[in-house]
């Protein structure tokens, strides 16, 4: 069953690539707009041999990793703090609801003014965008704590910290993991966007350069790289999630966000 699915999937992928090769070759679209798959693959090979490409990849990953780490840490700390402090959740609810939908790209002009094309510009956008994903999930998770378990812990005389550690955290962890997975994807989007629009060094900036210099196959090759990167991040986040929740996976339902 699994084997057939993988086979069908591979066939789908092959058909997709073949279509990408055939459509421009048959002249259905101009190949200067949409180069055949083989030409993109060539450009990709050239990119992979280029040292500048690896530097750009490294820059993008650095921005992504630092931004994500800050956002996740801050999101978890703030989320737990807000949820366990009486009244704080009610007091912050309206502010969070207001700040969350503000599109992070609105901060692009500000980031340019403050930090120019430095890494800090990228970080500002990445952290702002992915912080909310984590925070909101943590708050959902904490709300899910079983009142009986909480009361039991209380009557056994567990202190605040012990209750956070043994009751709250295990309950919230699946939600936290969902938040981290979403944040990881969002962080990549924002890192690449910041590079693309602001010009901070990285894959995004390289795409912008390829576009302005009419290097179409290279541009497609770089877009493919960002897609693969996104895919890797998704798969990686899922694996981490499954590992961390090995004890929990069976009982939890996926939260739809």
């Amino acid at each position: 069953m699994r084997g057939t699915n993988a086979l069908l999937g591979a066939a789908g992928l092959a058909a997709f690539l073949a279509l990408g090769e055939a459509v421009p070759r048959l002249g259905l679209v101009k190949d200067e707009y949409f180069p055949p798959t083989s030409r993109i693959a060539d450009a990709l090979a050239t990119e992979l041999a280029d040292e500048a490409f690896w530097t750009a990849l490294g820059d993008t990953l650095t921005g992504w990793a630092i931004g994500l780490t800050i956002a996740v840490t801050a999101g978890i700390l703030a989320g737990v703090l807000i949820s366990v402090t009486p009244y704080l959740r009610e007091a912050t609810a309206s502010t969070i609801e207001f700040l969350r939908p503000i599109p992070s790209v609105a901060l692009i002009p500000l980031a340019v003014l403050l930090f120019g094309t430095e890494l800090r510009s990228v970080l500002l956008l990445v952290v702002y965008a992915s912080f909310w994903q984590v925070l909101v999930q943590v708050m959902y998770g904490v709300r899910d704590v079983d009142p009986v378990a909480e009361e039991t812990a209380r009557s056994y005389g567990l202190g605040t910290w012990a209750r956070v550690r043994h009751v709250l955290w295990p309950t919230a962890l699946p939600y936290v993991m969902t938040g981290v997975r979403l944040a990881a994807a969002v962080a990549l989007i924002l890192a690449v966007t910041a590079e693309l629009v602001i010009g901070a060094p990285g894959l995004g900036a390289r795409i912008a350069v390829a576009q302005t210099s009419q290097a179409v196959p290279e541009m497609y090759a770089l877009v493919v790289v960002t897609g693969l990167l996104g895919l890797l991040i998704n798969v990686g986040a899922r694996t981490v999630e499954r590992r961390a929740l090995a004890w929990h996976q069976s009982v939890r339902g996926e939260v739809a966000v």
Binding site: L13, A91, L228
Partner: protein, 259 residues
């Protein structure tokens, strides 16, 4: 009565505190980049009235709606087809996973090649970024249709369009809405970015113009306006969702209370 007052107090307290804090902290600011909030707020009505509203805000919102609508229609339609047939799903899955993983903003330069820099490009960019969360969530939702329900429908002879409307789409709708919500924030991001890239009007374009012209208070008003726009759209979305999914939230509350 007291409860309502208390809740009202909690809703406004922190925002008021924050705005007041910003106001006081920035009041005698001479930093060019952080102008006093007073200056920003006085600039706001001057900047965003009359012509600019018609020339920049309206086109942006129209492009966003057009792209979003295209994505919603295409995403739900394709998602229903892919979700309904196991084999189609198996064939498409890896390709879809890849396409979804591409960060949507990198599509801007690609689509610019095909569609130039006009409205078509922007609508296409918005649609092509928004479509993935809707599509994938629809696939998941359609796949998870309760088998008892679909068997029952079959034994009552409900088929074709009626089945699609009353059984499949209805039970997939909570998932579809989750996708639509994700797509909304992606849509706003893409609207702004496509305008920052190449445009002669629109919110993104104007804000970047302000920043390049060092009209800093004006730039701040633009940031505030984008924030407000995001907020308003999410409120509207929530209202629509509550209406459409009213039956779902109701039944979930009931089952939660009884459990």
């Amino acid at each position: 009565m007291r409860g309502v007052l208390l809740r009202g107090f909690f809703v406004v307290a922190l925002p008021v505190l924050l705005v007041a804090g910003w106001w006081v902290a920035s009041d005698d600011s001479t930093d060019v980049y952080w102008p006093p909030l007073r200056t920003i707020l006085t600039a706001f009505p001057d900047v965003w009235t009359g012509d600019r509203w018609r020339d920049d805000v309206l086109p942006s919102v129209l492009r966003l709606s057009a792209g979003y609508a295209c994505a919603a229609v295409a995403g739900v339609a394709l998602g229903t087809v892919i979700g309904s047939y196991r084999r189609v799903r198996a064939v498409c899955e890896p390709v879809l996973e890849f396409l979804r993983a591409v960060p949507p903003p990198v599509l801007v330069p690609v689509i610019m090649l095909f569609a130039g820099i006009g409205d078509t490009m922007k609508i296409a960019v918005i649609a092509s970024g928004c479509v993935w969360p809707i599509l994938l969530n629809t696939v998941e939702g359609v796949r998870a249709v309760d088998s008892v329900m679909s068997e029952t429908a079959r034994s009552y002879g409900i088929t074709g369009v009626a089945r699609l409307r009353h059984v499949v789409l209805r039970s997939a709708s909570p998932q579809i809405f989750a996708g639509l919500r994700q797509a909304l924030s992606i849509g706003i991001i893409l609207m702004v970015i496509s305008e920052m890239f190449a445009a002669s009007n629109g919110l993104g374009f104007t804000i970047v113009q302000f920043q390049r012209g060092f009209a800093i208070p004006d730039m701040w008003t633009g940031i505030l306006l984008l924030g407000l726009l995001g907020f308003v759209l999410s409120v509207v979305f929530r209202l629509v969702e509550r209406r459409v999914l009213g039956w779902y939230h109701g039944s979930r509350d009931v089952s939660r209370r009884s459990s």
